[in-house]
Structure formats: structure tokens, C-alpha cells
Amino acid sequence: MTCTEFLALLDDLIDDTVTPAMRAQLQEHLRGCEHCEVTLSTTRKTIQIYRSHEIYDMPAGLRERLHAAIMARCKKGC
């Protein structure tokens, strides 16, 4: 397996949608390839960081204001 082939399957490996046979092949490649090992671990970390840090949270005041505006218009039948 080449690095390009590995990369093409990276998402399936991360999302755990590979067959056991494919997983074995991917792991075999990882044992001999530090580049792909780093790519895998840092891509996982990328996803985890975006998932666990709320970068676009709505401040409470804004939330209440928008909510009130929406409901006022819905009550009027939009």
C-alpha cells in the first residue's frame, strides 16, 4: 500500500467504516510509515479539537433576543 492509497482511506479509518481485512492492511502500512502515522493522529486531533471547542457560541443575551424575535413573528403568523 502506498501513502496515497492510505490517505484515500484515511476517513474510513477515522470513521471506523473499514472492513477488518482493510483495517489490517492500513495498520500494516502504519507500522512502516511514520508520515502516515502522524497524519492519522493529527487529523484525529484536528477533528477532536473542533468538536470540543465551541468557537461560535451564541451569547445568552443574543440568544434570548433572537428567540423573542422569532416567536413574536410566528405568533403573528409570520
Binding site: L7, I14, T42, K45, E54, H67, I70, C74
Partner: protein, 213 residues
Amino acid sequence: MSTIQPITDELEPHPDVALVERVRAGDVSAYDELVRKYDRQLFRIAQHITQNREDAEDVMQDAFLKAYEKIDQFQGNSKFYTWLVRIAVNESLMRLRKRRTGRMVSIDEDIETEEGSVPRDLADWAPDPEQNYTQSELAEILRKTIQGLPPGFRTVFALRDVEGLSTEETAETLGLSIPAVKSRLLRARLQLRERLSRYFRKNKGSRELGVEN
């Protein structure tokens, strides 16, 4: 016209189904519940796509109002949430188009990059790289980084990886094929990783390498 598709027997009806039914029967308080349940997600998605706070506020309001008006068109065979997200994504893309007049913005944009030749920063990251930054510095890094992605990529990433929609739901929401979603997701993840490497690598300043294969 309201057509309610029967829900398959083996599936528990989603709790939103009952709320939607109440809204259809004229119960505005049921809609209040739905708004509270999903407003944060819609706001996040709108921010991810538009990259503009005011636009995100407008998108969120407009999406909820549109969904309320069209609630009779909602078909019970998809989740209310994915239906709502679809409306919000379309509204967001519309706003983005308005801001970048003269430039077409669609979910299909910017995919013509060279297949397979992803440059790779091969430096490993520090063990807990985010701990080298304060919360606000980190948020700034994450925002700046995702901002640089083409809209089609960051939309797929936001839906799949941040909001946790399945590949199928993301495809349905965006009107894309499953392979198209997968290919955008892979590029989005790799590009974000690449850009974050600048901040998170173990030895800042070490050289960048490409990989040939």
C-alpha cells in the same frame, strides 16, 4: 399540501414528530420548544458557512421563520432537524453570495483542486497542543483556520464533524452524492490539519516536507 410518510415500524418515532404535529395543529409553544432545541446548532452552522456574525443572526431567524411557514411541507420521512439544517444551509449560501458579489458560491465550488496531491506537513504535534494557548487564542486560531477553507469544504466539515450528522444526512441536507460528501470531508480534514500544524507542531520552525507517492 401535507403528506405524512408512515414511519417504519422498527424505528421509534423521533420526539420531534409529536412537536411538529402540535405546531401543525396551531400550538406555537411547541415551536418555541423546537427553536430552543436547535437554535445553537443553526447559529453555529450559519457562522461556519457565512463567517459573519450578523449574517448568522439573520440566517438563524430567517431559517426558523421559513421552517414555520413551510411546516406543512415537512415530510416525516426525514428528521425535522436535517430539514431545518437544509433550510439554514441554503439561507447561509444565499447570504454568502450576496457578500461576495460577482463570485458564484455554491456547494460545488472549489473542488477542482488536484486530486491526490495533498501537501503534507509531516511534523508531529505536541502532546496536548491546545494547552499552549489560552481559550480565546485557541478559538481565534480555530476560527481563522476554518475561514480559509472553501465554503463547500467547511460546510461539509461543520455538518459531519462539528454537528455530528451522518454522511447520508449530510448528503441529503446538501443535495450531494455520498462520494461527493466523502471527498469534501477528506479534503477539509486534511486542509484543516495542515493549517493547524503551523500552531500545534512540536518544533515550530521545522521544515515542511511534501510527500511523493
